[in-house]
């Protein structure tokens, strides 16, 4: 099979706001018809990267292209091929849903009955057909977001960029959104790039790039990322962590990591180890649990700190 050219190509991109660096030497590729996630805490640089890709910020160093058009030198070609859903709304509150979509269509050269048809079609997809004449200010946050998504798709973009799309969505609506994104990928062959700080969303991407302090720290499928951690995570609760840690090292040659009031062990076939541990230390262990590693575990391992402890880039 001949592979299609990459939908998004980011090559050694760095960016700084004045003296403050926000991205450092980030490179990756997003394949065509892939749902690609940029995962990172607030301040990790993912929104900066998003803004560079959607041509709002100037490329300072490195190179980026979308749908084979260079972001720095051919912004109009890029703009024509991408659809964007911003984190902050980009709708005019005083206009109706139809008016907002109509003006947007006009900016992309759509007009007349073709445009009306497209608006009706997309509002049906996002379940807002009955709100077409409603003023945007009267819609709920979740509905506005759905209009926003319809707006991003109006001109049939090849690549859809979404910045924190589920901000303000309840779990049900979030679920619907992701089902819709998967449908877009499968039926309309759209490539999707989505930034998120939610592990649950990251799980649903085909591939993930994890950003931390403006640097790319991991790039893989969610499953591979999780399995890179070495099987299972065993968490042990004891009276005296230090004592048990020494005993584990002596008797089992196991390196346990203290995290908060607990000890953590990463291990293949954790269920077998648990059996042995419980047999060996019936007195010391108060509780013990076995879990599959989560993306948060991956983040901890890759960056050496917990997801939420990470602050803005200095």
């Amino acid at each position: 099979m001949i592979s299609e050219p990459a939908a998004i190509q980011v090559e050694a991109v760095s960016y700084a706001y004045g003296e403050r660096p926000a991205l450092r030497d980030v490179s990756f590729q997003v394949e065509s018809q892939e749902i690609f996630g940029l995962l990172g805490p607030n301040g990790s640089g993912k929104t900066t990267l998003f803004r560079l890709l959607c041509t709002l910020l100037p490329i300072q160093s490195g190179q980026a292209s979308l749908a084979q058009a260079d972001v720095a030198t051919a912004p109009e070609a890029v703009r024509r091929k991408i659809g964007i859903t911003f984190q902050a709304p980009s709708l005019d509150d005083r206009l109706t849903v139809r008016e907002n979509l109509k003006h947007h269509g006009h900016l992309y050269g759509l007009r007349g009955s073709e445009l009306s048809q497209r608006i009706a079609e997309l509002l049906e997809h996002v379940g807002l057909s009955d709100r077409i004449n409603e003023t945007v200010s009267k819609l709920s946050g979740g509905m506005k977001r759905r209009v926003e998504i319809a707006k991003g798709l109006l001109h049939r973009p090849e690549v859809l960029l979404l910045d924190e799309p589920s901000t303000g969505l309840d779990p049900g609506a979030r679920h619907d959104l992701w089902r819709y994104l998967h449908r877009l990928r499968d039926e309309q062959r759209v490539t999707v790039l989505v930034t998120t700080h939610l592990m649950e969303e990251a799980e649903r991407c085909d591939r993930l790039a994890i950003l931390n302090h403006g640097e790319l720290v991991a790039l893989e499928t969610p499953e591979r990322l999780r399995s890179s951690i070495g099987g299972d995570c065993i968490t042990i609760q004891t009276d005296d962590n230090e004592l048990l840690r020494k005993k584990l090292a002596d008797q089992f040659q196991i390196e346990a990591t203290p995290i908060g009031p607990q000890l953590r062990i990463e291990r293949e076939n954790g269920h077998e180890l648990i059996r042995d541990l419980v047999a060996a230390f019936p007195e010391e262990i108060e509780s013990i649990s076995l879990g599959k590693p989560t993306l948060e575990d991956v983040f901890i391992q890759k960056t050496g700190h917990r997801f939420w402890e990470s602050e803005d880039v200095e």
Binding site: Y17, R51, L56, L57, S90, L95, E99
Partner: protein, 280 residues
Amino acid sequence: MSSTSSFSNSCLAVFSLTQREIVRFLRQRTRVVGALGQPVIFWILFGAGLYGSFQPPEWASADMTYQEYFFPGVAVMILLFTAIFSTISIIEDRREGFLQGVLVSPVPRSVIVFGKLLGGTVLAVGQAVIFLIFGFCLHGVGLAPEIHLDLTVLDWCQVLLFMCLLGMTLTALGYVIAWPMSSTQGFHAIMSVFLLPMWLLSGAIFPVGASGWLSWVMWLNPLTYGVACLRRLMYAGAISSNAVGLPTLGTSLIVTSLFGVVCLILATYFTARRSSLNTR
């Protein structure tokens, strides 16, 4: 894409943005009332208050009242303030997020500028026309003296066309001022230290003197030429071309157009620059 279809796409986008600008304005009732009410009140009150102390300039007929002198000045005030205020919406658009949606669309940056300018111009000229009609009607109810204009339909068309040019120029000026601002408070400061004096020193409210530093400031003020041009067109040739303190029609047209073009180029340049100012 062929160049004709990309031109028609650009026109479509300009008209769409213009239409939005007008619809937004009309949906804000208070803006409609404020934009017309204040100049009319100014006109009546100043006219009544300065009635006795006004001396018509050399080029005017001796029986010109202050209110009549002030009449084109108020029209320019309406053009200036509506045009400028309509560009405050740039700051609102940016804050509300609408602007970034427009900036990531494939339209040429000049389309974004023209959409805004055309919207502002239509609003400004529309209100100035309403004021002109209203001004004539006020005479009927005794709130204003008679205004001695003797114009043909063609003369009125010239007045209208020039008001469009001036409206466009002033909206472009507003665009250039509003674009780099992140808050509307800053805009209000510019308004009182720059735009209001610009109008006061344009010959709109008192004639340009023959000498002195004030007359120099007035000659350097681009709006002086806008006011002069409107005056000359409204008196259709009745004012002599070498009248003291009033630039000629040709000079006025050239200065107004040039000023407009400079603002337009700056506006397009600002809009084309990618900057973190436009993100939110």
